[in-house]
């Protein structure tokens, strides 16, 4: 029984991480119809920036003050938001009217750049590091004999809170209506006085901030940060992307639902079936969904206009 609870909790936490990252993919795709391949690298940068900041503030040891985590989180989200904004401005905006394939290739280029630039000694270095413990290791509470660490509870809470915030933004504010209008018809949106470039930039800011949060909490949960050019980040991003697609890409609630679905399948299959194929399960889901219901669980199939 406790094993079941353990897997459940782990899936919940992992699902929350995927959700934070998946939201970024889905927001950008909704607005630009483009898979931001470099998104997983913003996650990576988020993790490493939070590690660096914690060091800068001297919060590397256990027993850092309660203020440590929120401060590092906000700063990390801010820095990565700027990073995402810059990437869009420099690499993607010039290609706004170009064939989609070109932007995809550019995104791959940005991704490779971030991974390998991060590897340089001057930046993050080529060695894996240990993430400082910004949150106490004491369990928050126990369920069925299983300890629930603060980290896990925080991630889940944060993911849900940010999702609700995003929902409010997109469906109840003028900016959100503008984002939805741009995602439907960019040209007519500009006829309403909407500054499309600015809306796109804001979308990237939000998506990147969420990614940063995901990266930081990934580090806090798993403790070890692998090298920037390691497959860990690509796989993490890929799985979050699968989550977004499964939920219906472009759909915010779908992204979160997909994230938890993927996490649960991955964890339960890994525990009760074969752990070696953990990654393969996720891709198998992607392929099945794309073949059977390409619009995803909550999405709608848009017919290709000739």
């Amino acid at each position: 029984m406790s094993r079941l609870v353990d897997v459940f909790l782990h899936a919940l936490t992992q699902g929350s991480l995927y959700a934070l990252i998946a939201l970024g993919y889905t927001l950008v795709y909704g607005i630009l119809r483009f898979i931001n391949f470099a998104h997983s690298d913003v996650v990576m940068v988020g993790a490493w920036v939070s590690y660096t900041l914690a060091g800068v503030f001297g919060w590397a040891a256990t027993g850092s003050p309660a203020i440590a985590m929120p401060v590092v989180l906000i700063l990390t989200m801010g820095i990565c938001a700027v990073l995402g904004f810059t990437i869009e401005r420099l690499a993607y905006r010039p290609l706004r009217r170009a064939p989609r394939l070109n932007v995809l290739i550019t995104a791959i280029g940005v991704s490779l750049f971030l991974e390998h630039a991060g590897r340089l000694d001057a930046v993050f270095g080529p060695d894996p590091v240990s993430m400082p413990k910004l949150l106490s290791e004491e369990p928050l509470f126990h369920i069925a004999g299983v300890a629930v660490p603060i980290v896990d509870a925080t991630v889940v809470f944060l993911a849900i809170a940010l999702l609700l915030l995003l929902e409010w933004l997109v469906y109840r504010t003028k900016l959100g209506a503008a984002m939805r209008a741009v995602s439907f018809d960019e040209r007519t949106a500009s006829l309403m006085g909407i500054n499309v470039d600015r809306v796109v930039s804001i979308t990237f800011l939000i998506g990147s901030a969420l990614a940063a949060a995901g990266g930081m909490f990934y580090g806090l949960k798993y403790g070890q940060l692998d090298v920037t050019a390691g497959s860990v980040w690509v796989l993490l991003g890929l799985k979050a992307f699968v989550a977004a697609v499964v939920g219906g890409i472009g759909n915010i609630r779908g992204a979160v639902a997909g994230a938890f679905l993927i996490a649960f399948v991955e964890n339960f299959m890994a525990t009760y079936a074969s752990p070696a194929f953990q990654d393969a399960y996720v891709f198998a889901i992607l392929i099945i969904v794309l073949l059977v219901k390409p619009g995803g669980l909550f999405g709608s199939v848009t017919r290709e206009k000739v």
């Binding site: 394939l101 932007v103 995809l104 497959s231 890929l238 794309l290």
Partner: protein
């Protein structure tokens, strides 16, 4: 005055001239490979010889990927997966085959290079296995557009990698001789990579088969591009809906592109696996998406759809890292920036869709005085 229909028999070339016309490029290819083997390889020494072999393999990989990405316009970024499949299949066949045929894994026979009949069999078999994998990957491609297809191919590359890591440890000696082929195919040494410690089948001194396969691929690619089938692929690349409306069997075209490209990628992987013997193995850690990206970068920079471009880029991007060895940590950064700038400033790459004979200076040299 005879009608055209009546003149068909006299206009149709005979069997012998047709065969001759079809076959002579392949003979020329063999000749070129022989030249590389007996002429160039001994002359350039160890370092450049090895570089040449690497260039040959890179050409195979780039030109094969070009068939899918360039001709058919399907953005596949899991090419290394096919290398892995082909490489492992070939390595298993050569190694286990040596044991089964001659009782030991040492290299046997061959007049142009060590053990090459088995090597060629291994390469072709590896190619076929990879082609089969290409069929599996290509079928879902029927439904998917650009971005999605890219992710799925990446995913397939990962799945293939995971599957290979799950294979059992390499069998040796008596175990290998007694096991059935079926069992042997599942003993590919997992994450450590399949190795043949007995020595190199391909080394700087014996590049013959590399260049044979390069020639075959170049001929096939060129003929494909100028054929009806190739035109169909290019049509699919330009506008799939319009192509379908014109009667092009788009699904069949796309899948065939995948299969053909995968076949040659498998051969590339097989060659890669046998280069220098045990130092380069077809193992999951070196043939992951990083390798796929390396090949994609070659195709993009060369110009998607241009065979010449792919060859050029393969040469440049194989030679440059050697020249700038000290700056290796900056290599990928430079490539990444090159990719970004290329897309913004010159998205068609070096050659676009053109081939060598489409360029202005070729025309100037070979058609002086003629109409442009």
């Amino acid at each position: 005055m005879k009608t055209l229909a009546q003149r068909v028999p006299e206009l149709t070339p005979g069997l012998l001239p047709t065969l001759g016309r079809s076959i002579w490029p392949f003979l020329a290819g063999f000749g070129f490979a022989y030249l590389m083997q007996v002429g160039i390889a001994p002359a350039v020494g160890e370092f450049y010889g090895s570089l040449l072999v690497n260039i040959g393999i890179a050409i195979v990989l780039a030109v094969s990927l070009n068939i899918v990405n360039g001709f058919a316009g399907q953005f596949s970024i899991g090419h290394a997966g096919f290398m892995l499949v082909g490489g492992n299949a070939a390595a298993a066949i050569v190694y286990y085959g040596s044991i089964k045929l001659w009782g030991s894994p040492e290299i046997h026979g061959g007049f142009l290079g060590p053990g090459e009949l088995l090597l060629v069999a291994g390469c072709v078999a590896g190619g076929l296995w990879a082609a089969f994998a290409g069929l599996i990957v290509g079928l879902p491609s029927l439904r998917l557009r650009g971005d999605y297809l890219a992710i799925v191919t990446l995913g397939f590359g990962e799945i293939m990698r995971v599957l290979v890591t799950q294979t059992g440890p390499q069998l040796r000696g008596k175990d290998a001789a007694e096991a059935s082929w079926f069992t042997l195919m599942t003993k590919l040494n997992g994450n450590l990579g399949f190795s043949n410690p007995q020595g190199a089948y391909l080394d700087p001194q014996n590049p013959f088969w590399v260049w044979v396969f390069v020639s075959i691929l170049l001929i096939v690619a060129y003929r494909l591009k100028s054929s009806t089938h190739g035109r169909a692929l290019l049509a699919v690349r330009e506008n799939e809906v319009a192509a379908e409306a014109m009667g092009v069997p788009t699904t069949r075209a796309k899948v065939s592109a995948f299969v053909l490209a995968a076949f040659f990628a498998g051969i590339g992987g097989a060659l890669f696996a046998h280069e220098l013997g045990s130092t380069l193995k077809p193992d999951p850690s070196t043939l992951g998406f990083q390798k796929s990206f390396d090949i994609v970068i070659m195709v993009v920079i060369g110009g998607m759809g241009s065979i010449t471009g792919a060859v050029l880029a393969a040469v440049i991007l194989t030679v440059m890292p050697e020249l700038f060895r000290e700056f290796d940590q900056y290599r990928m950064i430079v490539y990444a920036l090159a990719l970004i700038f290329m897309m913004i400033l010159r998205p068609q790459g070096l050659m676009g869709l053109r081939e060598l004979w489409d360029t202005s200076w070729w025309r100037r040299i070979f058609r002086r005085g003629g109409a442009s």
